[in-house]
Subunit: 444 residues, 2 copies
């Protein structure tokens, strides 16, 4: 909202004939957006009130051959030709990555341009700074495509849930890892070969770290958390573990106990603290998120008024992102057309802080490799018991006769993370334990 | 959007100190809304820019004892005290039913008041007329709570999917019937006793016709279809069948074939026609909607850009509806605060018409009671074959020796509804058929 009551906000131009669009980046999503702007021009103009006209597109190499046909005069490799273009009202930032995207956005905002971005990294790391800058320049910054692609999430948090207190978010927001985990669960394959297959199919990048280490999911969690709790958290506030340590046998043990394994992004509010974490979890097989397979995304939100809501859809792809980008563009365009200012107020909740991971209380799954001899289980139980961790069930598995080792799988009762971490380091030093092979938190 | 470019819209009052709310109806939802307005006053004021002040509440009996404490001066049984109240900016209509709610809304719009309503019947039957009236008076009419309660659907269709072409909607939007069908499926009970149990638990009304005949679901389907396809369809355009004919054994046969039975509200666009129907369907057990159980609602939308999206949550309850009502109130309040006019344009797609039900092409499940003697199946197959309906599988079940009857269950290949209806009436007259016990369409 504008800060001056009764003011219709700034009128960009008295008689506008079109809304000028500048596009930064012509990768998969950029190409998709440019194509939709062309093919749906009439419908978009009808909805915006004015035609949406693509004024300029920033590319790295103006001579590169592309699938989309653009007039040569539209294409530039000089960012200023867009960021300072007098007839660009809305800059769509789709170059991705932290830099130079952050600088582009700042420069555009400072020139009074509205921003639509799909950039989760920038929004997670610099969101609050950019909102402040946008507010100072009376411009709007929208980022629906940054989380869940075409699934309406940002707008749901900003508008539809406006009267709610949000208590928890459980989200599958990374399609690559969800695809890999689904394949591992269904095919019984190990992580490395499943990752290779995903790379071959284009579901994983050549350098997959951003996805499989949970970095991408953490960005998205920060964006949702900041909306839900009115905070200015950054990715550093998120506890994070990736999926590369998960073995095929973890899935069969999980199934035996009635669980699925998913990489979840979790944020929970407990009075004035918020826990934020991204890591593999055991979730009960009958939970909805347990059934979200392949590249699909799903975000479950717990609220005081609306109860539990789930938003589900494909979280990636050029068309999916275009849907969100163009919804943002249309929202801004309608405001420009009406000559109104719709810059949201920044209302921070200063009292909310991050809950230390060590305070987490949950159940744990432990997979150990131990010598197959009497007394081993007693020693393991003692270490856990000394740390006030009670065992809910234990199964001895896959005894390897020649090596005289066994796999011991333990499910605990709820325990403190701090106690569990201490127990883990003690278990690692125990002569009765060859290896702590895996350790996965339970979410239920 | 305002029709005048560059205009900030009307400024209701130069310096407003509060947004005045008039509440029509103090039933379950009305009480919930009044309570949230009181308990969340500070947060709502912060979001709206101004305090939201409840000016007056319409009740049937001002002397009735209520769970909520309201100053006696706030309560009235005279609608005019709200509809013509000079300090009421937003009228929240929660009396339900077609009349007098429709008249209240018209009167409020004509007095320049904005409307927030949860009334699916009014919106389905009179939506277009009310939008036109609102536009004429430069007021806003919002109805997020009318479908799916607190699940953000109206706003998703209006804004988030604005750039999309919507091709299909599959929705579970009636909690009562979904609860009954879930119970029947899980407990193996028959319809009548499950309905009684649902009534005892408060999940079904004393007069359940509106729910079990699919009338409520049809209202909601019309509302979503009109948003999705920019039409002005009414409930009469919806083909409708209820769930009372479904027997416990239909669930076991469905399961055998790999299906669940749900009451779906379906709208599909095929070029310039839209089919709209509410009836029980067989859906594959692994479809997401097949797993939506109990009183939960879920709406699946197929779009060109965003792909397939699913919105899931509780579709009923005072707090759930309050979430949607207050999101609408806040959206209007922010516009009032900013002095802007946000009345949506009416953009009808005049070329779209309703597809006749007889043109439907789908697979069918048939349950027949027939004499247990040779040649019966041949006769049944012949009738179907004569109508160009091919049988995909047939099972003879539950032979009743004393009565010498058998149950014959048939799944067909896709066939035309017109042909199937003709075949059904022929089957009913066949001496080889005692009864056409049930007939359920397949959706996959």
């Amino acid at each position: 909202m504008g800060s001056k009551q009764g003011s219709g906000g700034k009128v960009t131009q008295q008689v506008k004939k079109a809304i000028g669009i500048g596009l930064l980046g012509l990768g998969t999503v950029g190409t998709g957006v440019a194509e939709v702007l062309a093919t749906k021009a009439d419908g978009l103009a009808e909805q915006a009130g004015l035609p949406l006209v693509l004024r300029k597109v920033l590319v790295r190499d103006v001579n590169k051959r592309r699938s989309i046909k653009l007039a040569p005069s539209l294409v530039t490799d000089r960012p200023d030709e867009i960021l300072a273009h007098p007839e660009v009202d809305i800059v769509i930032e789709l170059v991705g990555g932290e830099y130079p995207a952050t600088e582009y956005i700042k420069q555009a905002l400072a020139s009074g341009k509205h921003i639509v971005t799909a950039n989760k990294e920038v929004m997670a790391k610099h969101g609050y700074e950019l909102f402040s800058l946008a507010k100072r320049h009376n411009t709007d910054i929208r980022y629906e495509a940054s989380v869940g692609s075409g699934i309406p999430l940002i707008s749901a948090f900003q508008q539809d849930l406006a009267a709610n207190s949000i208590s928890a978010i459980h989200a599958i927001v990374n399609g690559t890892t969800n695809y890999i985990l689904t394949q591992m669960a269904q095919e019984g394959l190990d992580f490395a070969s499943t990752l290779k297959q995903a790379q071959k199919l284009g579901y994983a990048e050549a350098d997959p770290a951003n996805d499989i280490e949970g970095i991408d999911a953490a960005y998205k969690l920060v964006i949702l958390s900041n909306l839900a709790f009115r905070t200015k958290f950054t990715p550093q506030d998120v506890y994070r573990e990736g999926i590369s340590n998960i073995a095929a046998r973890d899935f069969s043990y999980a199934r035996e106990f009635g669980y699925a394994i998913k990489l979840l992004a979790i944020a929970k509010r407990d009075r004035d603290t918020v826990e934020m974490r991204v890591h593999p979890v055991f979730i009960p097989q009958d939970f909805q998120l347990a059934k979200v397979d392949g590249v699909y995304n799903a975000v479950e939100v717990e609220t005081d008024l609306a109860g539990k809501l789930v938003f589900y859809g494909e979280g990636a792809g050029a068309l999916r992102a275009s849907s969100a980008v163009l919804a943002d563009v249309l929202a801004i365009a309608r405001n420009i057309y009406r000559g109104v200012n719709n810059v949201p107020e920044l209302r921070l909740n200063e009292t909310v802080s991050v809950k230390p991971m060590s305070d987490l209380k949950t159940r744990y799954y432990l997979r150990l490799n131990a010598p197959d001899r009497p007394g081993v289980l007693a020693q393991i139980s003692k270490v856990l018991g000394d740390n006030s961790i009670s065992i809910s069930s234990v199964i001895q598995k896959e005894i390897n006769l020649p090596a005289q080792t066994a796999i011991i799988v333990i499910m605990t009762y709820p325990a403190r993370e701090k106690a569990m971490q201490k127990a883990l380091s003690q278990l690692k030093q125990l002569p009765e334990v060859n290896e702590v092979s895996n350790f996965i938190r339970v979410e239920e």
